[in-house]
């Protein structure tokens, strides 16, 4: 049991929910306001990578991750206002994979917003995904917060349209995280123009929360922990008092603060990834602020995977990571320091050996 965080304890005060939630790997996000009646929460599930072996048979491990996250999200009490699925529902963008994943996601008892991942996109450029989930980028308002979904996994037209003889090969080339034939992610001018217009009608004191698959910041290009035009998107978020970007893709806990913009990554339900700093042949820029999650123990199949719930308060985000085989963690915006901080481990003295990655 790890219920040291009061906010989380309050949130999960319903009978039995604490015991359940302490084993939950959901990303639950709380947005809290000065007037606490405005606070609300949403849940975040991401990177399921549903993978077909052949003939309608799927990789059991990845299936179990998504099934568990959906089941546990449904047990949250009080209920989150909505759920975001952060992209990479499929492994190779196949209709069979998207259908199988969508069937599992459909069991969520909440309104669900979906983000495009590169594994959903590069087979048919998001055509079938759109039949299931609609637009690739969009926005909405909820309880005084402006939410935006971006498709941040686009890349250069030459790579997308001219480089590969078949769509299947294009998908495979982008699916390999460390494949040097891949191409950097980007939001692209068309979406940036749309975002500029979309944000023009939003007041600067309105909290803005952006969901993207890739980080809208530059951490490590070799694994596309990266968005090529991140600065252009950040510039559009500059005028806002409270801006937050929540992204998937990296399969690990990351957080950062760049000027007024707070960044949080979410965990995957499928498998964890190493921190790029552990790749000895490359330099990565993992935000110094980030206290890494514990090194994954492969003998625990779901270790270092999960989901999260998010509190929204004062337009700022508190991210509650429900870790299956470790103590749960909370990373919340600290108004005193102006940055997101871990509730337990932020001080260098407070860190533990399993958080050392090499």
């Amino acid at each position: 049991m790890s219920t040291s965080n009061p906010t989380r304890r309050d949130f999960l005060k319903a009978t039995g929910a604490v015991a359940i939630a302490s084993t939950l790997p959901v990303n639950l996000v709380e947005l809290a306001f000065a007037d606490s009646r405005k606070n609300f929460t949403f849940a975040y599930i991401s990177d399921a990578h549903i993978q077909e072996i052949r003939d309608g048979k799927f990789v059991r491990n990845w299936d179990r991750g998504l099934i568990r996250a959906v089941a546990e999200t449904n047990l949250l009490d009080p209920k989150p206002d909505f759920v975001v699925f952060g992209g990479d529902l499929a492994q190779l963008g196949k209709k069979s994979e998207l259908d199988h994943g969508a069937e599992m996601l459909a069991k969520l008892g909440y309104k669900t917003y979906c983000v495009m991942g590169e594994h959903d996109y590069y087979l048919d450029l998001g055509e079938y995904w759109s039949k299931l989930y609609g637009d690739h980028y969009y926005s909405w308002d909820h309880k005084g917060v402006h939410f935006v979904v971006l498709n941040s996994v686009l890349t250069y037209d030459e790579w997308t349209f001219n480089r590969w003889p078949t769509a299947e090969q294009r998908m495979l080339e982008m699916a390999g995280l460390d494949n040097p034939n891949g191409s950097p992610f980007m939001v692209g001018q068309k979406q940036i123009d749309w975002l500029r217009q979309d944000l023009a009608k939003v007041k600067p004191d309105t909290p803005v929360v952006v969901f993207s698959h890739s980080p809208i910041q530059k951490i490590y290009k070799g694994w596309n922990f990266w968005t090529e035009d991140a600065e252009d998107v950040q510039a559009l978020l500059k005028p806002f008092r409270d801006a937050t970007v929540i992204y998937g893709h990296v399969h690990q806990i990351q957080y950062n603060q760049i000027d007024n913009i707070t960044f949080h990554a979410v965990m995957a339900t499928a498998w964890p990834w190493p921190y790029p700093s552990t790749y000895a042949q490359a330099e990565s820029k993992l935000p110094k602020l980030t206290v890494p999650m514990n090194r994954a123990d492969p003998f625990f199949e779901r270790d270092a995977t999960g989901w999260q719930f998010i509190d929204v308060y004062s337009g700022r985000v508190a991210m509650h990571y429900n870790l299956y085989n470790n103590k749960s963690r909370t990373v919340a915006f600290n108004p005193k320091t102006g940055q997101p901080e871990d509730s337990v481990y932020q001080s260098p003295d407070g860190r533990i050996d399993p958080q050392v990655h090499y």
Binding site: Q51, I53, R60, L177, D178, P274, Y279, A282, H357
Partner: protein, 137 residues
């Protein structure tokens, strides 16, 4: 008498060894040799990389690189080490076999299988420059 013959035989044997040693030049090699040996190694490293991203080692289409991009988080410099989950000291190739059997749902390779050597070669190459840390968890 016997003793004298013995000494003589030893002397002849020593001379013969010396001659062989000179002709074999065990400690002499050329730049071309070095290049060839490096090439031989890198060919195996390349095979290891191909296996690392291959869906064919297991039965469920999962590849090693899915969880270990560029071989990261495999820590070849720490092996052999006490693998606490197995309760004994193991070599890296035993952990590779564990992954083949579990996340990849496949069969283990013989420990001297050329494919196993290739994967170890690839992991060591990706980890080059990192200090040896045997036994480190």
């Amino acid at each position: 008498m016997t003793k004298r013959i013995g000494v003589a035989a030893l002397a002849v044997a020593a001379l013969a060894l010396g001659v062989i040693g000179l002709s074999a030049r065990a400690d002499e090699f050329t730049k071309a040799d070095l290049e060839r040996w490096e090439k031989e190694y890198m060919t195996v490293v390349q095979k290891g990389r191909e296996l690392w991203v291959s869906a064919d080692l297991g039965t469920n289409g999962v590849a090693c690189a899915q969880c270990h991009p560029n071989g990261a988080n495999t820590h070849p410099e720490t092996y052999p080490k006490f693998q606490q989950q197995l309760g004994r000291v193991v070599a890296l190739r035993e952990m590779i076999n564990w992954c083949l059997q579990n996340p990849l749902e496949g069969e283990p390779l013989p420990l001297d299988d050329p494919r196993m050597v290739a994967m170890e070669s690839y992991l060591a190459w990706e980890r080059r420059g990192v200090e040896m840390a045997p036994g480190k968890h």
